[in-house]
Structures are given as structure tokens and as C-alpha cells.
């Protein structure tokens, strides 16, 4: 295998809580992304997806402490804090934010905001920058003349397209998209996803898509990670995750997605995710798991390769343990 464009090694994030104590939001996430790969992060709200990708760009608030390494083509960009990560922002890793409605400054013209990082990173200026902004807008399906509009003059879908154009301003290698289609209606959602796929192919982008919407991951990503309580519980090819999940959480998550042609009732997963401000013992999912057995409450399962070629963190995959109970 070639060197991954982006590798994350044992990433941890803690937030200082105002009432004292810490919240261990991300607990040892590791992964490696190849150039041009489309990767998905799935999980319910509060599982640490967004925190993880914000950490990749060093964008967490000052109340967060981060441990672990983020390697961009082998270089640890978080090594020296702002100093080392700042030059890579937008030029190498760019982001489409959750709720792109507010990703634009309401008092500045859209084109000006798209051109801003070009100027900042000395990629293009003046007339050249304006021409490039126009091309980017056209590429995402917005007439170039609309560059002089203000964000409020755009519809929700257009703003999201513009946000994508803005993310591509400096031709990044990795594009992080955090819930890029929430708050959009289904038709627009599909268009935006098609656009993202097309752009990723055209620009050779490595796309990281964060969502709680499983069908979106299935549609866009070739590989995905399922996150629960701050860690990856299962990671592998999307197909395998869907057809042969090796973690009960993944299975239940898919079962909780309504199917138009299926008569089966939609299942919900009882209980709530564990609190992350205290040390967890055993498997974090055990209290909600329908197949928990003896070791689950005491021993924390590690992410290990399964026979299907992906990895899951579940004791059920250990034949010895299973036999013993």
C-alpha cells in the first residue's frame, strides 16, 4: 500500500467541564485514508464524530486537550499547535461545515469569502482570484455572477453549494464534510451528494463524510467507521458493514433505519449512550446490547480484524470467549 494521505494515530480529545472534571469525547481513534478514498463516519449524536474531524484541523476550542498524531502525508500537523497546523488549513485540508447556512459571514459578499483563503495562502489575487471564484461557483452549479451576492440572497441548497466551492478554493487534498446535507430537503440532499462525489473524482479529493444518516454513507462512501461513545467500534468496507456487521451496534443502527420496501417495523435501540465524564469499564455498548454476555461488563473489547476483512470491537468475534461462556 502507498503512504496514506491522512493518518490518525490514537487520537484522544478531552474537554474541560465547567463544573470540574473532564469529558473524554474521543477515545483513541486510529485510521488511515488513501488518496481519492471516500470515507464515512457514522454514529448517533454525541458519539464524537464531529469532535474527531475538528481535531484533525486543530479547530477545537481552548477547553479541549488533544493527544495523538494526525499525519498529513507523513507530517505530524498537530505537533506544534497553531504554528504547524495553520499553514495546512484550507490548502491541504478543507471543510464543509455542519449547517452551512451560517458558514458564511452575513455581512460579506459570497465571492469575497471564497476568495479570502486564496489571498491568504497566496494562491491567487485580484482578477485571477475573481476568475477562479467564478469557475468554482460554475462548477458547483451557481452562475458566476452570483459571487457578488450576499449569503442571505442564496437558498439553503445554494449556500451549501457555495460552501463546497469555498472549501475547494485552495485545491485541498482532503475534504472534510460534516453533516453537509442536514437541514436540506431530500431532492437537494441528493444533488449535493452527487456533486460531492463528482468533485471528489474530478479533483482527486479524499473525502471524509460525517453523518448520522446511514443511507448517505452507503451511497457515497466505499469505507466507513461506526463510532460509539468516542471510539470506533467497527470499521471497514461499507458493503460489509451493511451486509455482515460484526458489532451489535452496527447491526442495530442499520435496523433502526426505515426501509421503504420492507414491511418490518423500524427498531430503536433502547437506552442512551454512556456518560463520557467518567471512566468506562467493559464494553461501552454492553448496557444497551441485546447480545451482551459475561465478559462484556468487565473487559473492554479491542478493535480486531474479523474474518470478513474489516475490524470490530466486540467479544462476540472472539471464539474462545464465546465458547467459555
Amino acid at each position: 500500500m502507498t503512504e496514506p494521505v491522512l493518518a490518525v494515530e490514537d487520537l484522544h480529545v478531552w474537554f474541560d467541564l465547567e463544573q470540574g472534571g473532564e469529558l473524554h469525547a474521543v477515545q483513541g481513534v486510529s485510521l488511515a485514508l488513501q488518496t481519492g478514498e471516500r470515507f464515512g463516519f457514522v454514529g448517533e449524536s454525541g458519539c464524537g464524530k464531529t469532535t474527531t474531524i475538528l481535531a484533525l484541523m486543530g479547530l477545537l476550542p481552548s477547553s479541549a486537550s488533544v493527544a495523538g498524531r494526525v499525519l498529513l502525508e507523513g507530517e505530524d500537523i498537530l505537533a506544534d499547535g497553531e504554528e504547524s497546523v495553520s499553514p495546512h488549513r484550507w490548502t491541504d485540508i478543507a471543510m464543509v461545515f455542519q449547517g452551512a447556512m451560517n458558514a458564511f459571514n452575513p455581512v460579506k459578499r459570497v465571492g469575497e469569502q471564497i476568495a479570502e483563503p486564496m489571498k491568504l495562502h497566496e494562491i491567487a489575487e485580484g482578477r485571477t482570484a475573481r476568475r477562479q471564484v467564478g469557475e468554482l461557483l460554475e462548477r458547483v452549479g451557481i452562475p458566476a455572477a452570483r459571487a457578488s451576492s450576499y449569503p442571505h440572497e442564496f437558498s439553503g441548497g445554494m449556500r451549501q453549494r457555495a460552501a463546497i466551492a469555498m472549501a475547494l478554493a485552495c485545491k485541498p487534498k482532503v475534504l472534510l464534510a460534516d453533516e453537509p446535507t442536514t437541514a436540506l430537503d431530500v431532492m437537494v440532499q441528493a444533488q449535493i451528494l452527487q456533486l460531492l462525489i463528482g468533485l471528489a473524482d474530478d479533483f482527486g479529493l479524499t473525502l471524509v463524510l460525517v453523518t448520522h444518516d446511514l443511507p448517505i454513507v452507503a451511497q457515497v462512501c466505499s469505507r466507513a467507521a461506526v463510532m460509539y461513545a468516542g471510539e470506533i467500534v467497527e470499521i471497514g468496507a461499507t458493503d460489509t458493514l451493511y451486509h455482515d456487521p460484526r458489532h451489535p451496534y452496527t447491526r442495530l443502527l442499520f435496523a433502526a433505519t426505515p426501509d421503504l420496501y420492507d414491511e418490518e417495523p423500524v427498531l430503536s435501540i433502547p437506552g442512551t449512550p454512556p456518560r463520557l465524564d467518567r471512566e468506562l469499564v467493559g464494553c461501552p455498548f454492553a448496557p444497551r446490547c441485546d447480545r451482551a454476555f459475561a465478559p462484556c461488563d468487565r473487559v473492554k473489547p479491542r478493535l480486531v480484524a474479523t474474518d470478513t476483512g474489516h475490524s470490530a470491537a466486540c467479544h462476540l468475534n472472539d471464539p474462545a470467549l464465546k465458547a467459555a461462556s
Binding site: 495553520s86 488549513r89 471543510m95 460579506k108 483563503p117 442571505h152
Partner: protein, 321 residues
Amino acid sequence: MRGADYFLKRTLFALVTVFVAITLNFIIFRATPGDAVTGLRCQFCTVEFKDQLRAELGLDKSKWEQYVIYLQSLAEGDMGRSFVTREPVVDELIDPLLNTLPMIALGTAFSIVFGILSGVVAAWRRGTFLDWGNLSFSLLFYSLPTQWLGLMLLIVFAGTLPASGIADPFLAFTDPSWWDTFVDRLEHMILPAATIGIVLYGEYALIVRSSLMEALSEDYVLTARAKGLRNWAIVWRHAFRASLLPVATLIALSLGYLVAGAILVEAVFSYPGIGLVTYDAVTERDYPVLQGAFLILTLSVVFANYLADLLYFKLDPRVAE
């Protein structure tokens, strides 16, 4: 054209407000029990004399007629004559107004510059000692009663700076140069302007701080950080501009009330401005002057509002919709 409609609407609205203010101004003075003549007490103030006086002042006419006359003379710039000096009210008010405006301008300029500066620093360095100190001082200044602060400044600086009036009465005898007069005026202006400036400084610093902090928590600030912008560039280019919206409105509004607020300061420093004239008119029951002063005060508030609307339009592209 974007905004022509908005501009027209705001102008019309301001004009209607002015008209309402003028009418209220008329009603207030007629709604008080008795009239300008009732209170007269003198040896020869017989009932006949009072009636004659009423006829002379037009007070025997119906309220409606009085209102029409009032509007007509106002349109001609005639606000009547002062009871005390017998001079036209307009002449009585124009000089004090011209005395007040530069004093207020000085105080406001001080408070805007330093209020915004310290508000920005406080928001930028939120939670630090700098922020804490800034916040405490701003709150303290903001909560000080204007007249009390004026008195304290008077006590402390009475020896070093002129404590009352607008000019050194003896300067005229020394054949002063243009520069000397200017410096003298400025010195007399400093204490009242500082009083206004300090109180406003507290208010502005607090507003700028909270407004900027709110702007800094917006999503587009995160976008700006992700784009690689440095802290100061984010504060200056993104958050500050957006945070100016409420700040500009509040400053414009407070400017309007300032003309009225000058009453206390000018009374403390015996500064012959519009505030002192109002104060004297109240104590001497000089109704025409008081009415004129009221009109100026209301007009300045309306005008400041109008200005705020226009400024808001300039600052926020969303306003026209």
C-alpha cells in the same frame, strides 16, 4: 436600486415622528393645570390684567386655533419669545446648542474610541485578567450617576482645569489670538466632556464586548479559523464587522439622548449649553424656552434614530429585505 425604497420609507417615518413629537410638545404644555398667566403674582395682577395678557398671548383662543397658530409660526421658525428676557426663543437656544454640540462630540468621540478598543480587547482576551479588569471598570463607570461623577471630577480637578462656564471672562481683555481662544474653550470643555465620556465609555465597552463575543461564537468564525486566518484577522475582518450592527445602533441612539442627558452635566459645571438653558427655563417657568428646548431634544432623538437606520442599512446587507 437597492435601498431607495428603504431610504424613502425611513425618511417618511422620521418626518411623521417629528410631526407627532411637535404635536405632543404642544399638548404637554397645554395639559398642565393652568396656563402661563395663572401663576402670575404681583400687586397689579388683577383679573382684568390677566385676561388682557391672555388675549395678548393668544391663550383665550380655542386649543385648536392655538395649535394651528403654533404650527404656522413653527414653520416660519418662530418659537415665541422668552418670558424672562423677551428675546425670541430661537435666538435664546441657538448659542447654547452650538456650545453643547462640540462638548458632546468631544465626550462621545472619546467614549467611542476607547469603548470600542477596550471592548474588542476584552472580548478577544475573554476570561483573562485583562477582560476581568476591563469589565469591572466598565460596569463601575456605567453605573456611576452622571452628576455625582461630575462633582467628583470637579473636586479633584477644580484647581487644574476651569471648573465652570465656557470661557475665561478675562481672556477677552488680553486681545487673545484665535489659538488662545480655542485652547481656552477646549479647557472649559474638558471636564463636562470627560464626565459624559466616562459614563458612555462604560456603556460602549460593555456593548462592544458582549456583541463581539456573540459574533465570535458564530459558525462563520469557525469557518474563518478553518481557512487559516489568524486570530486578529478573524476578530478584525469577520467578527468585528458583524458585531458593529448592534453597536452602531446603540451609539446612534445614545447620541440622541445625550443632548437631553447634558442637562445634569451642564448644571454641575454651569456650562451654558442647551441643558443649562432647559434647567434654567424650568426653574424660572419660562415656558416658551422650555418648549423650544424640548423640541430640540425630541428632534435630536428622532434624527439620531434616523441616522441609526441609515447606518444599519449601510452595515447590514440584510436590512433592505
